[in-house]
Subunit: 184 residues, 2 copies
């Protein structure tokens, strides 16, 4: 190991470069506590997100397929979305699962949390596990949503995450947390 | 499965909201081909990134710990960085590994690729596997870098990724790809 703990830079100010519906882009002014270096870094500020590993009673994982405007392509993922202000991550996971797929019920708990990208982004993504999910309600898409819902056996979902069949990094990470937690 | 393939929206224009050193933020105008709906979506444009799973001859994974300006905290990760224009992902992985840790050599190949966030971001992150990595050169940090390098047994790295000890989603996803490829 290289010697010494890396220094924690000190944030001394920030200004908003642009504010949008889904994120704010800020320039943050930092000072290195030892070197004295001062520099501005670009940081994306966004609400926390939630991703849901939902498993049916017959051990199938619920997947959603939809058009994504970042990649400008269809993407196979687990359900998820933006956590509303003040909303609990588990409650947000239950809400997103229900809205996107119509599934609900079962045993629900937080699997873990990650930083989508701590280098340039301040928010977290929480992974919620729903065990024993069943169809409970009509689907309730947002105006711009159009989602193909499917289920695949747990082993197939993990294989898709490992083989490039599921390419959203947060879905891949969530499935890894599930595998670790479930010992599958 | 819900019937029907989701529509692919058509991009009809874009304008840059702000351009920075690490990313451009754009507003993209899309039209739904069936509904006719038109709407602007915010998209982060960034170069592709690379993350490196580097394994030593005695089966230890190389980790780096550094201050991150997005999370404003220290973060334990695998090595990685931005792919330069025209640079091959594997070459970029070798370069970043060498610059950040001084390790190199061994057998190198592409493990897989993901979208960090296809919902709002256009770039990919490529995962490069280096097997048999050994110290080969002096560390060559960027001006703002200050990195604590360590190695842990493969099983410990995977456990860290599953338990919240490693919280960068791209490191977690890369380690999942490694586990799948290595059958560990």
């Amino acid at each position: 190991m290289t010697p010494g703990e890396p220094s924690r830079w000190v944030r001394e100010g920030e200004r908003t470069l642009v504010s949008t519906r889904v994120l704010d882009l800020k320039s943050e002014h930092y000072r290195h506590p030892v070197r004295g270096t001062q520099k501005d870094f670009v940081v994306i500020h966004a609400p926390d997100w939630v991703n849901v590993v939902a498993v049916t009673p017959d051990m199938r994982i619920i997947l959603v397929r939809q058009f994504r405007f970042g990649s400008s392509a269809l993407s196979l993922e687990i359900p998820g979305g933006v956590i509303e202000k003040g909303e609990d991550p588990v409650a947000a996971g239950i809400r997103e699962l229900s809205e996107e797929t119509g599934y609900g019920g079962g045993k629900v708990r937080l699997l873990g949390s990650v930083f989508p990208n701590p280098a340039i982004q301040d928010n977290r993504c929480h992974f919620v596990l729903v065990q024993g999910a069943v169809p409970t309600s009509p689907i309730n898409w947002d105006d711009d949503e159009e989602i193909q819902v499917s289920t695949v056996p747990v082993s197939e979902a993990l294989a898709l995450a490992r083989s490039g069949g599921i390419t959203h990094s947060l879905s891949v990470a969530a499935l890894m947390f599930y595998e670790g937690a479930a010992g599958v």
